[in-house]
Amino acid sequence: MPEPILVLDKLEKHFGGLAVTQQVSLDLRPGEIHALIGPNGAGKTTLIHLVSGTLRPDAGRVLLDGRDVTRLSLPQRARLGLARSFQITCVIPGFSALENVALALQAGDGSSFRFFRAAHHEARLNDAARATLDEVGLGARATIPAGALSHGERRQLELAVAIATQPRLLLLDEPLAGAGPEETERLIGLLQRLKARCPILLVEHDMQAVFALADRISVLNQGQLIVTGSAAQIQAHPEVQTAYLGEDEFA
């Protein structure tokens, strides 16, 4: 089995007396989409924060490529190859789609303490940014300010920004939230293509999408990991059905 890219080792997080993450261990292997599901309040968002570095765990470790990154901040983890999207789309509204991606490319292209050349004339960054926009299907919208793009387009842009950094893994927090049926279909196709580039840890509410996309699924409930397995295993798991899915959704 190939070495996992990301390992969460017995993570613990408490807010006061409330244990929102208890002994959560999981891993992400090359080439896979690993989905994280669970009812509201299960601790998915907290876990995302622990992985990306916006929250520190009370105990346990986060390993990225075998390296302990538990104590590193969000920017430090980003520099080691962790790219993430946010539940609420996080792009730079005043920048064009192209410049959003160019900034991401700039992050992986040497020092940004450069003061003389106008950044928007750097052909190398712009060409690569255009290619990345084409890849996510936004090529025709390159010059539009990100703030004027549709919701689904902003989702696509955020993915373009994430892959432009050539990450080791993608951490996607509800990438389909708020997208219409057509947009959802397009984004699912995009995610399927992206997993060949780098593995994806996916938090998503859209069950159909999760079952269509995920190679493995982990179920969180009340801060604890109930089970990790294939789509079929998860659907058949009795504890999952009672804790989370309910009878109706499978009727």
């Binding site: 901040s73 996080c90 509204p93 920048f95 992986g108 303490f113 003061f115």
Partner: protein, 320 residues
């Protein structure tokens, strides 16, 4: 070519051209040139503040402190008998940049209202320190022995020469800030102003970028302070007072926060309006205040932001 016709560039370029032509169009007398040089010097400080406010989203209410440092370095060297500009000016710039660096290390840990308050606090600390400097006259200020000379050449004293030195340095400050704002460095700054979370998720820590911008803006304001000391041949703690900081911030807003050269236009408009009104009536502040309020209400993009109805049209186009 059409780029030059946008109000964000056209107005500042016209302003610079008008300043260059002014001495030859009947504004060459002592009074007019003194007023214009004051406007240009404050314009330099405002442009540097605009790099912080518009570029980095850092609304400092202590920018006059950097000017104060620059002015007092000139005065302190004058007291020590050093009137060589080639020493005094770089020293003023470095001292202001150093002050910005040290205070920025603390102030930039905060944001929003806290940043405004902490920069105000540092400004006040400097103000009271300067007021207590008895060697330099304390509250009463200090009168310079003379203007700085450069390698023995007395280029700051002739009025026309001083006018064009101020103009050149103002244009250079604008050029420097514009270059920085467009560079990779400036792109990270602007992105961090709009969406800091995205910038961090890309692996940038905004802090060092902001600190460097703060230091550079401080250095430019220090240069403006050194010029101001020479223009008045006098320094007093008032140079570094917080109302001066507020005025600089207002010039930036009046000119247009979104455009760097807006500050230049804002400073000129502010100083000339203030002077014009003070000439016409004694209770000029009663008119000046409301005028500024009206300007902010009806020109939310500032003087260089274009006319409100034109902007609305542009917004509709962008939405479509």
């Amino acid at each position: 070519m059409t780029r030059l016709l946008r109000p964000s560039l056209l107005l500042p370029l016209l302003a610079l051209a008008a300043l260059a032509a002014a001495p030859f169009l009947g504004f060459g007398d002592r009074f007019a040139l003194t007023l214009l040089s004051r406007a240009m010097i404050l314009g330099m400080a405002a442009v540097s503040l605009s790099l912080l406010v518009g570029g980095a989203g850092l609304a400092s209410l202590g920018h006059a402190a950097m000017m104060g440092i620059g002015a007092y370095v000139v005065a302190a060297l004058d007291l020590a008998g050093i009137t060589e500009g080639a020493i005094a000016f770089p020293a003023a710039i470095l001292a202001a940049a150093a002050f910005a660096g040290i205070t920025g290390l603390v102030a930039l840990r905060t944001s929003g209202v806290y940043f405004i308050m902490i920069t105000l606090a540092f400004g006040q600390m400097l103000f009271f320190t300067l007021s207590a400097l008895s060697a330099l006259g304390g509250d009463d200020g200090y009168t310079l022995y003379g203007r700085n000379t450069f390698l023995g050449a007395d280029i700051l004293t002739p009025r026309l020469s001083f006018h064009f030195i101020c103009l050149g340095l103002l244009a250079a400050s604008w050029g420097l800030c514009a270059m920085l704002s467009r560079s990779r460095f400036g792109r990270v700054l602007r992105a961090a102003r709009e969406t800091p979370l995205r910038v961090e998720a890309l692996g940038f820590s905004p802090f060092p970028y902001r600190l460097l911008a703060y230091v550079i803006a401080g250095g430019i304001a220090g240069l403006a302070g050194a010029l101001l000391a020479n223009a008045m041949e006098f320094v007093s703690p008032a140079v570094a007072s917080w109302p001066r900081s507020a005025e600089l911030l207002f010039m930036v807003v009046l000119g247009g926060v979104a455009q760097l050269p807006g500050a230049l236009v804002g400073a000129l408009a502010f100083v000339l309006l203030e002077e014009g009104l003070a000439h016409v009536m004694s209770a000029w502040k009663l008119v000046f205040g409301p005028l500024l309020v009206l300007a902010v209400i009806f020109l939310p993009g500032g003087l260089t932001g274009g006319l409100p109805w034109r902007r609305r049209k542009q917004e509709r186009r962008a939405d479509a």
